[in-house]
């Protein structure tokens, strides 16, 4: 049984903001299926009483003094922007046509 369908891959691509082509959907569905079947081995471990590890270090609430320090200038921050207008990042419209 396959772990993942073509439709699910299309859904994942939408969630991940990847405008996949039709041909890619088939290819990834096949490959992700193989990978998922392999990694699903982790479920063989009976681990009801095992606490999860999200991070290798037991550090918590690391603080440093709240001191002002120089950040980027406006020119530096905008230097790599794909589009700039009036000394600001210019972005595409954020609302769908229907909402306007």
């Amino acid at each position: 049984m396959s772990a993942i369908t073509r439709g699910e891959v299309a859904h994942l691509a939408r969630l991940a903001r990847l405008d996949l082509e039709e041909s890619e959907l088939d290819h990834y569905a096949e490959q992700l299926d193989v990978i998922l079947q392999a990694v699903a081995r982790v479920s063989e471990v009976a681990a009801d009483d095992i606490p999860p590890t999200s991070h290798p270090l037991p550090l918590v609430n690391v603080m440093r003094p709240d001191e002002a320090r120089p950040g980027l200038t406006r020119e530096e921050a905008l230097a790599a922007a794909p589009a700039v207008e009036d000394e600001r990042f210019r972005v595409p419209r954020i609302l769908d046509g229907d909402d306007e």
């Binding site: 992700l32 990694v39 590890t53 290798p56 690391v62 794909p82």
Partner: protein, 502 residues
């Protein structure tokens, strides 16, 4: 010594070069120029570099020479050239992470690693090739074409840090910086006959290191000798308040440990699960010989079992994609990097999706979708949640093994360098290259790979992996330099000197 150095600057160790510069036998400019010349001569075939900053490197070299002439005391690597993996931000120098989505991006700041290299007066020659965002074991997933293994140009140099390892192996630089999320320093070291160390997680600052999987990523040294790796390790390690996961404790004295080179009385554990099926005969043969060397040197070698390691690959390929799908969400085409499809009509969501489709390569898209899947409701507990539990079990396996042993050993990679193209569209086959290196990343402790010979069947380098507990990085160097010295005695030279001259 003096005439040797003049004749052959590129074949010297970093330690030798630094000393020769300090004693005025040569200058940092001469050393830097020799390496730039070497890059110009061989890098069209090796393709270790994505960007060479000749002007910046020579200016930095001149500064070292001027300050030396003025009588200033400089550090132990002052004036020595280095190749920097293209995943570390360096102010004003292109930083692509091997991806089209960052093509032409010039960071407005230095990573902490770069700051420390500059403070140590190390000369940064340029940026090295890598699998896109460090996802891969061959550098074939670089958007700018693969790097070629200097031992055989038709073969992979390992990955993701294949550029850094190949630069060192091809004598384009005596030192390089790599990053290791699942083996990306150690596996390239193994297949190129060089030395690579993944320090303890939190040992080297991640500030300015473009994140793949934040709980696994760690920068570290690549070199041709254990002592050179130690000198570089000491230069870049230590607490950084700008990285909240940076360890505040004092860094172990790795340079003293490399000089000690003594394993007498040490207990060394051979990990049963990291051998057998899938391991190439020549890899196992050279590994067994290394075990014999350690015993001859006075170490006690015992077999240990780490049963949960069998599940490490599965846990890793759930945890890494999960973290990467989240980390790479920042590449949205709004503030920096590529933007595609912005025709004035499309919405920001459409532009983002078109940009990411155009800017990311196949492996990055695969892992982003895998991570998105593993984190989605309904699958979270079965995949990501379960993987986190396996991570706990792996830590426990290490804990009990290190209760009996000072260090653990295994082959670094199950095979020698495979042919370019052989596994590029077979993700699972590619992932299996990391089977022996991944457990250390999941547990956060440290490990080294060093060359222990050529596999008889293909005459390609084999790596020995040494693993030590967290913040016991010095043990890697103590054991590694002892093995290196014994092999050098046997062969009369370092393994890398057997590499083709290109």
């Amino acid at each position: 010594m003096s005439s040797d150095i003049e004749r052959d600057l590129i074949h010297q160790s970093a330690a030798t070069l630094a000393q020769a510069i300090a004693e005025g036998e040569t200058s940092s400019r001469e050393v830097t120029q020799a390496h730039l010349d070497r890059i110009a001569a061989v890098d069209d075939r090796v393709h270790a570099f994505l960007h060479v900053d000749a002007e910046g490197a020579l200016a930095a070299a001149d500064s070292v020479d001027a300050r030396r002439a003025a009588g200033e005391e400089l550090g132990p690597l002052a004036g020595v050239p280095l190749a920097l993996k293209d995943v570390l931000a360096m102010r004003g120098i292109p930083t692509t992470c091997g991806s089209r989505i960052l093509e032409g991006w010039r960071p407005p700041y230095d990573s902490t690693v770069v700051e420390r290299l500059r403070a140590a007066d190390v000369i940064i020659l340029g940026k090295t090739n890598m699998d896109e965002f460090a996802m891969g074991s061959s550098t074939e997933h670089s958007a700018y074409g693969p790097t070629h293994n200097p031992w055989d140009l038709e073969r992979i140099p390992g990955g993701s840090g294949g550029g850094s390892a190949a630069a060192v192996a091809a004598f384009e630089a005596p030192l390089a910086i790599g990053t290791d999320t699942g083996g990306s320093i150690r596996q390239p070291a193994a297949v190129t006959g060089t030395v690579g160390v993944k320090p303890t997680y939190g040992g080297v600052s991640r500030y300015g290191l473009v994140a793949l999987a934040s709980s696994l990523d760690q920068a570290g040294p690549c070199a041709r000798t254990v002592m050179d790796a130690a000198l570089l390790h000491a230069a870049i390690a230590g607490h950084d308040p700008r990285d909240s996961t940076s360890i505040p404790d004092t860094v172990p004295d790795v340079v003293a440990a490399a000089a000690q080179a003594d394993v007498r009385g040490m207990r060394i554990g051979l990990v049963r699960e990291l051998s057998g099926e899938g391991y190439q005969p020549g890899v196992e043969q050279r590994f067994r010989e290394a075990v014999g060397i350690l015993e001859n040197l006075g170490a006690e070698v015992v077999e240990v079992s780490c049963p949960s390691f069998d599940y490490a690959l599965g846990a890793y390929y759930l945890i890494l994609p999960s973290e990467c799908s989240s980390n790479l969400a920042r590449f949205d085409g709004m503030r920096y990097g590529l933007r595609a499809g912005d025709d004035g009509d499309r919405s920001v969501e459409q532009v983002m999706s078109i940009t990411r489709e155009a800017g990311f390569g196949a492996e990055v898209k695969r892992r982003i979708m895998l991570g998105t899947y593993a984190l989605s409701s309904g699958y979270y507990d079965a995949y990501y949640g379960q993987a986190q539990k396996v991570r706990t079990l792996i830590r426990r396996d290490f804990d009990s093994a290190f209760a009996q042993c000072d260090v653990l050993i295994s082959p670094t990679a199950p095979t020698t360098a495979f042919r370019l193209g052989e596994k590029v569209d077979d993700p699972l086959a590619m992932y299996l290259n990391d089977v022996a290196t991944i457990p250390v990343n999941l547990a956060g402790n440290c490990a080294m790979s060093l060359p222990v010979g050529l596999a008889p069947e293909d005459s390609l380098p084999v790596g020995l992996q040494i693993m030590a507990p967290a913040m016991a990085d010095d043990r890697l160097y103590r054991v590694g330099s002892a093995v290196e010295a014994a092999l050098q005695d046997r062969w009369g030279h370092l393994l890398i000197e057997e590499a083709p001259s290109l």
